[in-house]
Symmetry: C2
Subunit: 209 residues, 2 copies
Amino acid sequence: MESSSATSGASTRREATRQKLYEAAVTLIAEQGFSATTVDEIAERAGVAKGTVYYNFASKSVLFEELLRHGVGLLTASLREAAERTEKDGGTKVAALDAMIRAGLVFIDRYPAFTQLYVAELWRTNRAWQSTLLVVRQEAVAVVEDVLRGGIENGEFSEEIDVPLTAAALVGMVLVAALDWQAFQPERSLDDVHAALSRLLQGRVSGRP
Amino acid sequence: MESSSATSGASTRREATRQKLYEAAVTLIAEQGFSATTVDEIAERAGVAKGTVYYNFASKSVLFEELLRHGVGLLTASLREAAERTEKDGGTKVAALDAMIRAGLVFIDRYPAFTQLYVAELWRTNRAWQSTLLVVRQEAVAVVEDVLRGGIENGEFSEEIDVPLTAAALVGMVLVAALDWQAFQPERSLDDVHAALSRLLQGRVSGRP
DNA sequence: CTATTTGAACTGACTGGTCAGTGCAAAAAC
DNA sequence: GTTTTTGCACTGACCAGTCAGTTCAAATAG
């Protein structure tokens, strides 16, 4: 009654293969894109037979959609946790944003392929998983928006800032800087990158230190 | 019929079909991605025969590579022009950055499909046009880096800022904010979006106006 | 303890369809 | 007369998805 024929529980074996398939798919799709990646490749990289892919997922697109949900779930959890931790410690909203920048960098550092893939697919239209993407995007950006709104309420931020736009810009700033870091200067430390973005966030670009 | 006129020695007719093919390809690839877009589709959308595509371009990838070069050429020219215009008018480096943000927004507003496609392909690896992308990326980011370095030299910016990283972050900020604007709040005006990003650039997020 | 049963998990050869790229003769444009 | 475009049939590679058959570990029986 434990592993097979479990009533609602996920059999361990099955979960393990799904995990292997996620890992294989995320790398390949990040490198080549969804359409250029074949199911055979994914199966081979995961070390399973092609049939297993279809035993575990209804189709190639479904595998991809579930992969997206899974990954963004991890990201938003991590962002939200960072913001809440800072606020509980009595930090300012700027400190919360800063903590979220760091959390974002940590995430991208740990899952670079997922981030790549996410950015590459985010603004495509006319695709099967469009609706999934929209939901998933909103979840991530909403975390940042919440902090911005909180900051306006308590007077820490100007009432004139445009919440959705500023949130998107901040996300973009971190995303692109981090992808560049990974792709073109991987030797830099996370602290280094974080410091540069912190400075930009706090408007300490102009003027001497 | 001869609206574009003969700019260079190339035959006008040929240039016109190439232009039509660029326009058709950029939309389709932005929507669906490179691999999911077929040559037949491109030809049909451009209103030419499939054979014409191969008469004008060696292959589907070559068409795409030339499209990339063409588009990024337009972008960098526009950015550089904005920076130089501001500097000639005796503006500060911050003003130059601001002008480039606006130029970036104008470009994205005019060529949204190209921007989409560029972002989607930029961080992919293992693709045929990888080297083209690298060159083309460097050209665009370099314009921003130059302004930052100029600002450090004349004391307007802190010596501690990390030029390549800050440049990437700024590009990302504009890119992502603009794509979000296009995709999710297209009714907003360019001035509106520009104002929000300006505020972020100048660190006027915290504090009341 | 060993033998047998069960069924979820997995396999990989196979199928039907798609698509990049070719070849070419004839038409159109210049 | 030359360049460019057309139309269309054709090929060969590639690929998503299928399915009949196999594996194996836990459950049950003897």
